[in-house]
């Protein structure tokens, strides 16, 4: 057992915190919520230079060959900073899917571009049913000579409005086994027949509705193999859920620290708010929630890094973190009182993001159900 980060991870953590506190102040975060694109290209370029966009990709695909533990360290800092932009959609959802499903040539071409910051991608999976299971993939792709023609609606697709390409998950045949017959297509976002609308969301994430109206995609744009997308997709969703947990841990840690600092300074009834036992108890509950999330997340990240089976551990982490981050922000709101309710304060940034992260990639109920299956129930 060793609960310490290694030296390189400590350096990454420190560097990430310094960089983000300088380059991604809260004023920028708020500006980006209102910004049409939702991200500053300059910051994206700098992150590419730091190697962050390729941290998790093998060196032969232009990455740094980092582990999921390294990635968790970085995401924790991104969560702390409320980093806006398409990192999750491009690097995590799309990048990991390409890594898991793509052909050698696709990996070389696409991942190198992602790592260099040259391309923005997103994964178009969810539909109006708003589920992450195979049965919910109803958008159809019908073969037509050397092309496929995609029709249907994708919903809640992050950053699709700025993506150069989207990986559209579509059904290429309707068999009895729902997991069979699902194919991933790399779709140029400028293709005729695509209509993209940005939705307004609680955390200001740019989630989109995408209507595919007979969109023609060449057969060679299939990512990986025809009708074989579900297994690598499921794997990707698990990895992404874990990475999301790391991001949430960072946000929760920041809320805990902000709340404790405020409780020390704020005077009530002639003494610091933080000297009242009820506030001690709130803070202690937050500490236990943050530690619990962090340990579940890092244990799963370690297993993933060591290529050990960890389906249950990831589900446990996302189930717990989804609820715990929300609880931590709610207690933070209670400690800050009215001042934390003002939109210009930092608390609303985290309160909003905690809820968005909770429902993204499956909430507590969904992941507890996955745990139950792993327990053989």
């Amino acid at each position: 057992m060793d609960f310490d980060l290694n030296e390189e991870q400590e350096m990454l953590k420190t560097m990430a915190r310094d960089f983000l506190s300088k380059e991604c102040p809260k004023s920028l975060v708020r500006e980006m919520v209102k910004d049409e694109r939702g991200y500053p290209p300059e910051l994206w370029r700098k992150m590419a230079e730091l190697g962050w966009l390729g941290l998790i990709f093998p060196k032969k695909y232009g990455g740094l060959g980092g582990s999921f533990l390294d990635l968790a360290v970085l995401l924790e800092e991104m969560g702390r900073a409320c980093l806006p932009g398409p990192f999750f959609s491009t690097v995590i959802l799309s990048g990991l899917f390409i890594l898991n499903a793509g052909t050698e040539q696709q990996k070389r071409e696409l991942l190198t571009k992602v790592a260099d910051g040259e391309v923005i991608l997103t994964l178009a999976l969810t539909e109006p049913s708003a589920r992450y299971d195979a049965a919910s993939v109803e958008v159809e792709a019908i073969g037509d000579d050397n092309d496929y023609i995609i029709s249907g609606t994708k919903l809640f697709i992050p950053d699709a409005h700025i993506a150069d390409y989207m990986i559209c998950i579509a059904r290429t045949n309707k068999g009895t086994v729902l997991e069979d017959g699902i194919t991933a297509f790399l779709v140029d976002s400028r293709s005729p027949g695509i209509n993209c609308t940005v939705l307004k969301t609680i955390a200001g994430d740019k989630l989109c509705e995408i209507i595919f109206n007979r969109v023609r995609v060449p057969r060679k744009n299939i990512v990986g193999e025809l009708a074989q997308a579900w297994a690598p997709l499921e794997n990707t969703l698990q990895q992404a859920a874990l990475v999301k947990c790391a991001e949430m841990v960072g946000g929760a840690q920041q809320v805990l620290e902000m709340s404790a600092d405020y409780a020390k300074e704020r005077m009530v009834f002639g003494r610091p708010l933080g000297s009242f036992p009820v506030i001690h108890h709130y803070i202690a509950n937050m500490v236990m929630d943050v530690d619990g999330c962090r340990f579940l997340t890092y244990e799963a990240a370690w297993k993933l890094s060591e290529s050990l089976p960890c389906t249950m551990e990831i589900a446990m982490a996302k189930a717990w973190t989804s609820d715990a981050y929300r609880r931590v922000t709610a207690l933070g709101q209670q400690i800050f009182g009215g001042v934390g309710f003002i939109e210009d304060h930092d608390m609303p940034l985290y309160f909003r993001r905690a809820k968005a992260a909770e429902v993204t990639l499956g909430d507590g109920n969904l992941h507890r159900e996955l745990v139950a299956r792993q327990l053989g129930l």
Partner: protein, 403 residues
């Protein structure tokens, strides 16, 4: 970071593997099915006494196996903590109690840190052999969580102290040989600076032990002191400095308490029960509420396991895990309560049955846990105090002003 958990024996050195074999051979001979059955009866049924558990503990003590990591001159074997772990693993795998207790896990470590050399040589070997069995003499009718308000008086008189007063919740005092006693040696000093610690022979004239029966069916005690003479050489540490040693002792106790109930085993039993039990032809395990509940308990058990690993890891680095131990205690003991309650809900009407019926599920272990775990969130440090400790020491919040 490294979360590797070694399976039993996997990380043994050659010497440790030999030791493990020695332990196994011993247990094959000594821990016969007959002995184990009696031990289980004492554990599962609500007892007046535990003669077989104690006898077995003394057998381990005679081999030096309660504290193999203590120095030889103090009754240990001068070996590593790994040896104690090996013993615990081998005993646990056979469903036997791990031996030792208050003496080896709470009093011994305090003596090691603060007693004179003469006292160490006198008391530690007896604790190591399981001959000196201790009961805690802390709480009084008017001093529980606010322990420093204790009123029991110890007055210096020649080579002795003369002690008067009453202790309460001295669990095990009717079986133990000695009391680990906190009493007031100065009434003039502030309340935290007038307390001393003693080892008192419970057979001393003037000591009366009376039973109190708990809701969990187990016995605890009131202990009355009426002009009890205790030799000065039985005072551990400086006079009036007892509070600082007590804080350490309470830390050791918390670490021991956080893992007291093997709650994951009960969760696993509930999972098995849900798979095997049908209602109207449908397994309980297919009920979405039951699935959610058991999954949540499994997750919370994992957090408990990780909190425990953190405490051990800090100790292995020579760090006193005060905050980490408090977190492990609060989390672990509140989880015990949640498992008890969720388990009762899953068992429904059957949950209320006590062990003597053929209808009783899981030997009544859930029903017992439900009643037993109630005291864990105040025993050994109330969780209100624990949470204040976590907030002040971990996040630097100011303490509540003393009045």
């Amino acid at each position: 970071m490294d979360f590797k958990e070694y399976s039993v024996g996997e990380s043994d050195t050659e010497e440790e593997a030999e030791f493990r074999q020695e332990v196994r051979d011993f247990l094959d001979k000594q821990l016969t099915p007959d002995v184990l059955e009696k031990i289980h009866q004492e554990r599962d049924h609500y007892y007046e006494g535990r003669p077989h558990v104690r006898e077995f503990s003394r057998k381990l003590g005679a081999k030096g196996w309660l504290v193999p990591h203590w120095p030889e001159e103090y009754g240990g074997l001068g070996r590593s903590l790994a040896h104690r772990r090996i013993i615990i693993e081998e005993l646990s795998s056979r469903g036997a109690p791990v031996g030792g207790g208050i003496g080896t896990s709470i009093v011994g470590p305090v003596i090691m840190l603060h007693a004179t050399e003469e006292q160490k040589r006198e008391f530690l070997p007896k604790i190591a052999r399981g001959e000196m069995e201790l009961s805690l003499g802390y709480s009084e009718p008017n001093a529980g969580t606010d322990l420093a308000s204790l009123e029991m008086r110890a007055v210096s008189d020649g080579d002795d102290y003369v002690i008067n007063g009453q202790k309460i919740y001295s669990t095990g005092a009717h079986e133990a040989t000695h009391h680990w006693l906190a009493a007031r040696t100065s009434v003039d000093a502030p309340k935290h600076r007038g307390i001393s610690l003693f080892i008192v022979n419970l057979a001393s004239p003037g000591v009366t032990v009376r039973p109190l029966w708990t809701m969990a069916g187990e016995r605890t005690n009131e202990v009355f002191y009426d002009d009890v003479r205790v030799p000065k050489k039985n005072r551990i540490g400086e006079e009036n400095q007892g509070w600082s040693y007590l804080r350490e002792a309470l830390g050791f106790e918390r670490m021991a308490l956080s893992g007291m109930v093997n709650v994951r085993r009960i969760v696993d039993e509930l999972i098995q029960y849900a798979k095997e039990t049908e209602h109207n032809g449908k397994p309980l395990a297919k009920d979405p509420i039951v699935r959610q509940s058991l999954a949540q308990l499994a997750i919370e058990s994992s957090i408990r396991r990780l909190f425990g690993h953190r405490t051990s890891w800090l100790m292995s680095k020579g760090i006193v895990p005060d905050v980490a131990a408090a977190i492990a205690k609060v989390w672990g003991n509140e989880l015990d309560q949640r498992v008890g309650n969720a388990g009762m809900q899953i068992l429904g009407l059957y949950s209320q049955l006590e062990p003597d019926s053929k209808w009783t599920p899981l030997r009544g272990s859930v029903e017992h846990l439900y009643r037993f775990a109630v005291h864990l969130s105040y025993g050994g440090g109330s969780h209100e105090l624990m949470r204040s400790l976590i907030a002040t020491r971990c996040m630097g919040l100011p303490r509540e002003p003393r009045v």
